[in-house]
Point group: C2
DNA sequence: GCGAAATACGAGCATACGCTCACTTTCCAC
DNA sequence: GTGGAAAGTGAGCGTATGCTCGTATTTCGC
């Protein structure tokens, strides 16, 4: 399946002609990735769709992976910029809940830039070590959200800020990610933003072990190993998709 | 790159010898997938690692994809069984918070069966239409959690149960998934379970638009399109990883 | 207009990978 | 012990795909 050249530096486009070419290539990459999937993403196919030759493609991208990385990076820049813009124009002396709401609105807006592309990229872009943009992005988000929580520490019932940051970032991302696919109406009506805001604010506002509950300590269930049974989740609810392996 | 045979049915192992073979193949698949990644997962490599010939592999699996699907299914069965077991032995008249805690403990335990495999599978297993086990699994979870929420409806401040279910399922999964990688200590100490429980309980317990907050309505930020700037997330915090595209 | 640099082209090479098939070995019922 | 079925083997076929390279075309400063 061909060779894999090392990430040698390729020519940067200087004339407007070549900038058009690079743009067409990335656009074609996005198109194929979202419409036909990762398996259909071959360099020849991308070049064809972009209306250029493979040779031109390899003049600007050292290999196929670079295509994905460039696309991913461009998409992330858009997302960053969206969130940045939104927060920059948020009023100064906002209450904490309002601040949270602003951020969630911004995050939702960012995810609406190109949902299918976003999904495809988060699933398929190789995120192995090196200079992974997603890791760096996550880290930046984590740091900033942590800073916000620290700044409002006195208003919040949070002991372990690191952990709370993790919980909040993960939850919000999870609820918003792919929301366009799983709950479009709630997304458009603003109900989703309402709920996620409540999720975050109520979690952070509550002090003590847990708000309206007095729990007994329960030992966590023991670890299981493979092959110990084939019971359904939560005690056999759905009967479909339950058959022999292979 | 070879041909792709249609998902023809293959021989099922009847002798114990062949059952060993199938097991070795799946084990090798898991090993290669977790240690060397998806790209190293070639049928020849799997067969070699399993100590059998490719021919034997193709006697039980129609194609490479079937390998992943079988592995995924086996792993999911383990997860289902773990959760199932844990909940089956939960006391009857449990309070809602304790019930939530039991479930979260169970989910955490399920994710500790084989974390690296779990990560690899959720990232790389093709989940395109047909009879996708993950979709079916998610659906089962959604239905059951929804049922629990409905059962406790009177205790909770939830209007849209569908949406609340979505929020809860997504959040919990997100916080627990990969937790072994991002916050191991909190996971082992039980702090993570504490926090996630609080997240869920406080969200569900709160009635009205939002607990301790009286929000003003804010218009969500406008959508942005590509190329409108390269601002940092949340106003330029991190200075690393910020350079020219491509 | 000229020449050099930038850009574009695309046939084809090298290779790795999925999978087959003709054959051998092992198991087991009788 | 024997026959047939199940299981196992691995060289190698067909092919898709990543990528190169020699050549043609366009751009642009002078």
């Amino acid at each position: 399946m061909g060779q894999k050249s090392k990430p040698s530096v390729r020519k940067a486009p200087v004339q407007s002609r070549s900038r058009m070419t690079v743009d067409a290539i990335l656009q074609a990459t996005a198109h194929i990735l979202t419409r036909q999937g990762y398996d259909a993403l071959t360099t020849n196919h991308v070049a064809g769709r972009a209306g250029v030759s493979v040779g031109s493609l390899y003049q600007y991208f050292p290999n196929k992976e670079a295509l994905l990385l460039a696309l991913s990076r461009r998409h992330m820049n858009d997302i960053e910029a969206t969130i940045d813009d939104a927060l920059a124009q948020a009023p100064e002396g906002q209450s904490f809940p309002d601040l949270v709401r602003s951020m969630i609105d911004a995050i939702i807006a960012a995810h609406l830039i190109d949902p299918p592309l976003h999904s495809a990229l988060s699933e398929r872009v190789p995120h192995q070590g090196d200079q992974d943009w997603r890791v760096a992005f996550d880290e930046r988000v984590r740091v900033k959200v942590g800073a916000i929580l620290k700044a409002h520490r006195s208003d919040l019932g949070v002991k372990n800020i690191e952990l709370a940051t993790y919980i909040v970032v993960r939850s919000v991302e999870a609820c918003v990610h792919d929301a366009y696919r799983h709950c479009g109406p709630s997304l458009r009506s603003g109900d989703l933003a309402d709920e996620v805001t409540r999720l975050v604010v109520n979690y952070l506002a509550a002090s003590g072990p847990a708000g309206p509950l007095n729990r007994r300590r329960i030992a966590p269930p023991p670890l299981r190993r493979r092959g110990a049974g084939t019971g359904a989740v939560f005690g056999r609810l759905a009967t479909t998709h339950r058959g022999r392996s292979r």
